[in-house]
C-alpha cells in the first residue's frame, strides 16, 4: 500500500461521530476495542501498517458517501454495500454480513407485538435515513404507517424513548447494543438473517471512488478472513445472535 495512502506510511481510518458499541468501544477506536476498531487494526496489520501508523478521523454518514476526494483512506461505520452507492464510491470486500434486526421496547412487546411480518406491519416504524434500513423496511415489512426517518442512530433511539415510534430496523449488532445499553427496556424482537435475504446486508470499508487502495484492502480482508482473524474478532466483540428469533 506504499504511496497510496493519504499520508505516507500512515493509514487514516474514519469512523462515526460518535462511534457506537459494539463497533467501537467507548467511542475510542484508538484502543482497538470493538469490532470495527479491531478489524481496522487487523486490516492495517495485513497491509503492513503497525498500530502506531493508524490514525483515526470522524465523518458523518453523509460526508462519507458524498462523491469526491476524502479525508480518510478507509471509512468503517457499518456501510452497506449497494450497487447504487458503488456508482459514487468504492467499497472493500465485505468484512461482515449482517442480519437486519427489529429493535423495540418491552412495552411494545407487552402490547402484543410478535416477530411475525403481520404483527410488525402495524407498528410505527423508524429508521436512520441514510442507511439501507429505510428501503429494506419498505421492501420486507411494508409498514401500514409510513416510517419516520432520522439523521442518526441516536435520534432513532431518542424517538423510541419518546415513544414516538414502536420499532426500528438496524443491523443486528447495533440493535443488540442499542437494546442493551441505550434504550431503557429495549428488546430485539426478531431478525432477518443475512443467509436468508436475497441481497444480504454486507458491510464494507468505504473508499474514494477509484481508490488505488482498494486492491490492497480487499487482499487484506481476504487474508484476515482466511486466517480466522476476522472470525476471532467477531467472536470477541459481537454477541452470539442465535437467541434472537427469526421473523416469520
Amino acid at each position: 500500500a506504499a504511496g497510496k495512502t493519504l499520508e505516507e506510511g500512515v493509514l487514516t481510518v474514519a469512523t462515526g461521530n460518535p462511534a457506537y458499541y459494539p463497533w467501537v468501544i467507548d467511542n475510542a477506536p484508538e484502543s482497538g476495542q470493538g469490532y470495527e476498531a479491531a478489524v481496522a487494526y487487523a486490516i492495517a496489520a495485513a497491509m503492513g501498517f503497525d498500530g502506531d501508523h493508524v490514525t483515526w478521523t470522524r465523518t458523518s454518514f453523509d460526508e462519507a458517501i458524498q462523491p469526491g476526494p476524502k479525508d480518510f483512506d478507509i471509512n468503517m461505520q457499518q456501510f452497506s454495500i449497494t450497487p447504487e452507492r458503488q456508482e459514487m464510491v468504492d467499497f472493500s470486500a465485505p468484512y461482515y454480513s449482517s442480519a437486519m434486526a427489529v429493535l423495540t421496547t418491552q412495552a411494545v412487546v407487552d402490547a402484543g407485538a410478535e416477530a411475525t411480518l403481520d404483527s410488525l406491519k402495524d407498528l410505527v416504524w423508524g429508521a436512520a435515513a441514510g442507511t439501507t434500513a429505510a428501503p429494506v423496511l419498505e421492501q420486507t415489512i411494508a409498514p401500514a404507517k409510513s416510517p419516520m426517518l432520522y439523521g442518526d442512530n441516536a435520534d432513532v433511539t431518542a424517538a423510541m424513548q419518546a415513544n414516538q415510534i414502536d420499532a426500528a430496523l438496524f443491523d443486528l449488532p447495533t440493535a443488540l447494543y442499542l437494546a442493551a445499553v441505550m434504550l431503557e427496556n429495549g428488546v430485539v424482537l426478531g431478525q432477518f438473517p443475512a443467509e436468508q435475504a436475497e441481497d444480504p446486508d454486507q458491510f464494507g470499508a468505504l473508499m474514494e471512488k477509484g481508490s488505488a487502495l482498494k486492491p490492497c484492502v480487499d487482499m487484506a480482508i481476504a487474508a484476515i478472513a482466511e486466517d480466522g482473524t476476522l472470525a476471532g474478532i467477531e467472536a470477541e466483540w459481537l454477541q452470539d445472535a442465535t437467541g434472537v428469533p427469526v421473523v416469520q
Binding site: 462523491p67 426517518l149 432520522y150 415513544n163 414516538q164
Partner: protein
C-alpha cells in the same frame, strides 16, 4: 381656452427617448445573449461538468424522484398550515402581554419579555431537538408525544416570538396621538387597543410578517430532523439511495416555485409601505 393640449404627434423628447429605448433594448438583449451564450457554451467545457451534471442535474433521477418529493412537500404545506394560525394567535397574545400596564399583571410583562428573548435567541434546530425529542421523552402517551405536535410546537414557539416582536413594533409605531385622540373621547384603554391601535398596527406589520411566514415555510424542513418525512428528508433518502444530489435540486426547485413569488410580493408590500411613509 382649452387647457388640455392635444399632443400633436410624438414630441422631440419622445422621439429621442424611443430611439434610446430601442438602442438600450438592443444592447441589453445582445449583452444578455452574449453572457448566456458564454455560460451555455463554456460551462459544459469545464472538466468537471460531466460529473456535476450526473450528480446534480440528472434527468432520469429527477424524473424518478420528483413525484415523491412533491408528495413529501405536502407534508411541509400541512405543517405550515396548522402552525401559521397558531403562531398568529400566540404572537398576538404575547405582544399584548408585553404591552400590559397594570402592576398586578407585571408577571405577564416579564413573561412576555423572557419569552421573546429566549425564543428569538435560540437556533431553530436546537429548539426543535430540545422540544421535539425532549418533551415526549418525559413519558407522554400516544398520540400526545407525536413529533408532529412537538416539532410544530417548537416552530410555533420560535416564530410566535418573532411575530410578537413585529406586532409590538407595529403597536409602538402607531403615533401616540392616536391613543390621545381615543382617550380624549372617553374610551377605555382596552377599547382603544382593540378598536384604534391594533387594527392599524396589524395592517402596518403585514409585510414584515409575510417575510416571517416565508421563513417559516422554509424552516419546516428542519422538522425532518426529528422524524417527519417531509421534502428535505425525502430528498435525503433519495440522495443516499442513489448517491446523487439531484433530489436536493428538485426540492430546491419546489421551494423556489413557492417562495420566489411570495418573497417578491412581500418585497412589493414593503416597498409600497416605505413609499407611503417616506
Amino acid at each position: 381656452m382649452t387647457d388640455k393640449a392635444v399632443p400633436s404627434g410624438p414630441t422631440r423628447r419622445a422621439l429621442y427617448e424611443a430611439r434610446i429605448r430601442r438602442r438600450s433594448a438592443l444592447i441589453a438583449t445582445l449583452s444578455t445573449a452574449l453572457v448566456l451564450a458564454a455560460i451555455i457554451i463554456l460551462v459544459p467545457m469545464a472538466p468537471g461538468w460531466e460529473a456535476v451534471k450526473k450528480s446534480f442535474f440528472n434527468g432520469p433521477v429527477l424524473a424518478k424522484t420528483f413525484p415523491g418529493l412533491l408528495n413529501a412537500f405536502l407534508m411541509d404545506v400541512a405543517i405550515f398550515a396548522w402552525c401559521a394560525p397558531l403562531i398568529a394567535v400566540l404572537a398576538l397574545v404575547i405582544a399584548l402581554c408585553r404591552d400590559v400596564r397594570a402592576p398586578a399583571l407585571f408577571p405577564l410583562r416579564l413573561f412576555g419579555a423572557l419569552y421573546t428573548d429566549i425564543f428569538r435567541g435560540l437556533p431553530v434546530v436546537l429548539v426543535i431537538y430540545l422540544i421535539g425529542f425532549g418533551v415526549p421523552g418525559l413519558g407522554l402517551p400516544r398520540p400526545w408525544n407525536s413529533p408532529y405536535i412537538w416539532g410544530s410546537l417548537a416552530l410555533i414557539l420560535i416564530y410566535s416570538a418573532y411575530v410578537a416582536e413585529v406586532i409590538r413594533s407595529g403597536i409602538e409605531s402607531i403615533h401616540q396621538s392616536q391613543r390621545a385622540a381615543s382617550a380624549s373621547l372617553g374610551m377605555s384603554d382596552a377599547d382603544t387597543m382593540r378598536f384604534v391601535i391594533l387594527p392599524q398596527a396589524l395592517r402596518n406589520v403585514v409585510p414584515s410578517n409575510m417575510n416571517l411566514f416565508i421563513a417559516l415555510q422554509k424552516d419546516v424542513a428542519l422538522l425532518s430532523f426529528i422524524g417527519p418525512v417531509e421534502i428535505f428528508r425525502q430528498a435525503g433518502v433519495y440522495k443516499s439511495l442513489m448517491a446523487n444530489f439531484t433530489p436536493y435540486v428538485g426540492a430546491a426547485v419546489i421551494f423556489l416555485a413557492l417562495t420566489i413569488p411570495a418573497t417578491r410580493y412581500a418585497d412589493y408590500l414593503m416597498a409600497r409601505q416605505r413609499r407611503r411613509r417616506g
